[in-house]
Symmetry: C2
Subunit: 243 residues, 2 copies
């Protein structure tokens, strides 16, 4: 008989320019929303958005609901990260009355999600919700610092898959825009000519046949992510990972 | 307030020669142990080893306990696969009385594990436990067929990491033995010379300085997996993944 209850939390990434979230100024950085707790344990501390798993609710569905409730956004990309469940992680030994009716320990199934640029800019920010740059986070409740670290690592490893970078950008984009996403996520500059060569060799993009409007002299071509290429990425869970 | 209870299941892989499990005859195949259910739902059907998460028990710890209880073995490799939790997966709509006290739905955190050759050969097989070739499984309870499919896919993708192949073989091995593991997992023959070249170029093996005993003429060299190379594989969860 288990003592554990289930929660679903979500690490949500958006790429925005530096400066105050919502303002367009300077190079792009990763931002994520956090929620300030209003009860023990860790009252007053910032934590990942999330909550108990509702009756009849699927795991990915719960993650998407959390995302909508916290930020007003829907994800461009969503993937299960990991289930964190070691005893003591949820402060159940801290003498609080916050445990669920079935016991003190909380096992969190954590998802990570990417939201788009324009959407994050327009997002309503709920009470107790604030966006922070991923490299300037406050101290977090529970084991959420480890969770964020793992989600960042997963994102940085997966950005090699243009699907992820494309999710930040939306429908179509130039190679320069794609490269800037890689640079913001990886935290370092990439040589433009090498980048172009590698992306073209990978075959993961398709030319839309259009060019960027508003540029008079040699407007850059617009590409989009080639969905067909990446079905192998998730294996048999490809369908589940996107629900 | 959640309606879900937690379980931990384990997909356990061993590499054995074909023929009856425990006999040494012919080429190697993947085998996994299943448990025959003795209650509803799916009474009489084969299922993955597992059980409810015990009080104060970590997730990986629960997976290891299941492994020991079912097969008498400890894992050479253990990794969390995925949390499966969609409503309806555990037959809670089938009108059975098998739900845990906190509600009908079961969320399973699934681990996959590799056990070694000699150990699997000597393993005690508990009541209602039987080993099956991975490509000749009986119909399974719940969504366990999907879970096994995903675990196989993950294993086949990861075998490129010699760490995984090495886990099947134990301490030290020849290149031919390593290649046979790859071939058994991937289900196809590999060119020996190309294989040797790729492995040597990868730098993931270290020469033990010893050779295989009992071979008089040009005995093959023995290698072992170079632990230091692969710490990056798990990122920040490297420690957690191995607990």
């Amino acid at each position: 008989m288990t003592d554990a209850s289930l929660a679903v939390s979500t690490v949500i990434f958006a790429l925005r320019s530096s400066g105050r979230f919502g303002e367009d100024a300077g190079e792009r950085r990763l931002w994520l929303p956090l929620v300030r707790r209003i009860r023990e344990p860790f009252d007053g501390k910032w934590a990942l958005p999330g909550g108990p798993l509702g009756a009849g609710e699927g795991l990915a569905e719960a993650a998407t609901s959390t995302l909508a409730r916290t930020t007003g956004l829907s994800p461009r990309y969503l993937e299960q990260l990991y289930a964190f469940g070691d005893p003591g992680r949820s402060g159940e030994n801290a003498g609080s009355a916050d445990g669920a009716a079935c016991g003190g320990r909380v096992v969190s199934v954590v998802y990570w999600a990417l939201v788009g640029d324009e959407e994050a800019r327009a997002a309503r920010v709920g009470q107790n919700v604030r966006w922070f740059p991923a490299d300037e986070l406050p101290p977090l409740a529970f084991d959420h610092e480890l969770i964020v670290e793992y989600a960042l690592w997963r994102l940085r490893n997966k950005v090699e898959y243009s699907r992820i970078a494309s999710a930040f950008l939306g429908g179509s984009f130039t190679l320069a825009q794609l490269r800037e996403v890689y640079e913001a996520v990886l935290g370092r500059a990439l040589d433009p000519a090498n980048f172009r060569r590698q992306i073209e060799a990978s075959g993961v993009l398709e030319d839309t046949g259009e060019v960027l409007t508003g540029v008079r002299h040699r407007p850059p071509r617009l590409y989009r992510y080639n969905e067909a290429v990446d079905l192998a990425d998730q294996g048999p869970l490809g369908r589940l990972a996107q629900k």
